[in-house]
Symmetry: none
């Protein structure tokens, strides 16, 4: 990290790259990839939408797959705060955020892309897992552990399975064609909790 900062201080020769260009290109790439899918997304389209020329893109990345990878790599799970919530309430709050992100336009499209491209561009899936899936799972798992500690769920609950079922239920619901109302979150959490 320190090294990186030092490097940044070396005055680069030649015309420096405008830093916001990079971001704009990757933003546009992500958007187009979600809208069109990887194959249909064109470098031309990215260039036009980002307001740059194609060589400007190729100077930074080596090809279409590389750009897409970079766009995915930059992804962070932008999770709104769930401060102040605890245990199952926190779980529900996290799932509520998840729901919101899925309901955004093209909210599921990225999953389609990484699945479709898994064979051709495994990097995409890899980054998607690292940047999006894993953090979310960890947050939910932590909250569930807290709930367990609080006695809201059983001592021997299979937290890993629970995380997967909670999150997976959204995919399942989407693929079934049914809408995902806010109440869905109540239902799935209830389904896991014995109220005997």
């Amino acid at each position: 990290m320190q090294a990186a900062i030092q490097t940044a201080k070396i005055k680069p020769t030649g015309r420096p790259r405008k830093p916001e260009v990079e971001a704009r290109i990757l933003d546009v790439t992500m958007q187009l990839m979600c809208e069109e899918g990887f194959s249909r997304m064109s470098i031309d389209g990215i260039a036009v939408a980002a307001g740059v020329s194609k060589p400007t893109i190729y100077r930074r990345w080596s090809g279409k797959a590389d750009i897409a990878t970079a766009a995915l790599e930059r992804l962070r799970l932008a999770e709104p705060s769930v401060e102040g919530k605890h245990g199952l309430d926190k779980v529900r709050a996290l799932l509520f955020n998840f729901r919101k992100s899925l309901l955004r336009p093209n909210g599921m499209a990225l999953i389609g892309v990484v699945l479709t491209e898994e064979r051709h561009n495994p990097e995409l899936m890899k980054h998607f897992r690292e940047r999006i899936v894993k953090p979310r799972r960890e947050m939910v798992a932590t909250a569930l552990e807290e709930a367990r500690a609080m006695g809201e769920i059983q001592k021997h609950a299979d937290i890993d399975a629970m995380v997967t079922m909670l999150i997976g239920s959204f995919y399942g619901r989407y693929l079934s064609g049914a809408s995902i109302p806010p109440g869905w979150i109540i239902r799935i959490v209830d389904a896991l909790v014995c109220k005997g």
Copy 2:
């Protein structure tokens, strides 16, 4: 005369179609679509792999989207028998079949395709839901109802949510990057059943 009309098999004139061609084309289409995705799949590729010429394809379908739709439309949930099982055992058996189909090469790819193409070719998603998702959900739901009747699960269990979570957990698991061992089925069913 009436009889004649009723029974007359309309004699088809002209050269008959090679009978197996249709199936071969659609098989190949489905395979390529899973391997490459809709966009990358090419008519040329289908023609070569099916051993026919392109016009032979175009005589039957009007274009790429039409062929893909036909391939999906032809899909049926080919569910191996779960005869003799009942209640939760049947649920587990059904999920075991599901697992097997997902673990096949490209088992998840089709989901990627329909998600990616949802905007451009909504027909694909529609058929996927009708032919694959819905039948499977109904089978699992029926088995769960049976389990409920048998007292294996609670009276007021939210069966719809359970179906979605069970099936969805496979998607969640796949996207997490973890493998899906046979024991997974035990775990997710257990997670839903109170063993108070």
Copy 3:
């Protein structure tokens, strides 16, 4: 001619060709050729419009050019009667007929076709000249000769040039983009006749 009739009496073996089919195909061919031009005209289009299959066409003619040629070959200058007219009046009547045929939809299109195809299918131009151009020219020339005999035009008038100018003026007028009103005929005939 007699021989032909005798030949016709020989009972042909096999299923006889429906005679009106031939005519229908050629009619359709001529029409499509005028509407679309030779290249754009398709055998498929002819077959569909004539209500026959493509091999039915290929059994009779050897290819696209052959069909087009046959269609042109069948053309006859269908000149409405100008009986009772003489001299310049007859000339004007003939030109009036000519005008009418040019003003029909696609009236000039055939000329476009034969000119465009002159290099690739010289037969078309040849038949067009023989069946259409030449007969019309001869009729006009004869009428002009009559007019000369009647003293309506000068003794030494260059009848060949006059025919060409009269007829050609319609092409010139069409290409200029101006309409061709009935009065046009009066004007061009007047232009050739000295009224000193």
Copy 4:
């Protein structure tokens, strides 16, 4: 600043276009269109003959019809000088030039193209009329008016008809199949002039 704006030749950025390419493509297009007709002419053919790639063409024009239109739009009546001639002499000189252009290889072919394409690409006919037909007609008309002023032709001569007949006679002659010798010009002018 104002001055700067006014005089500044906008510095073009990026790789400049090879300068002669445009002209070469349009030349080739015109030639192929005359030789083959619009339909038979292919973009591939143009690209090869012009020594460029197809995208180089598509960067400049939006499609086949657009290229053809551009080629026609670029046409100018390249009329050799008729300086020093006046009245009917000038008319004859102009017609002599016309004759020469018609006798060039494919001299009539363009007319075939515009006629054939009139329905599908009316722009072609429009440009042909504007660039070629109209200028020529105006030149001939002007010369005829001069001749009239000089007393070479009658006061009340129908100049518009005369122009059309003179020019049209070439089309008529061509379609008749007869050659167009130099003497033709003498004959048609004589035919219009009373030598009583």
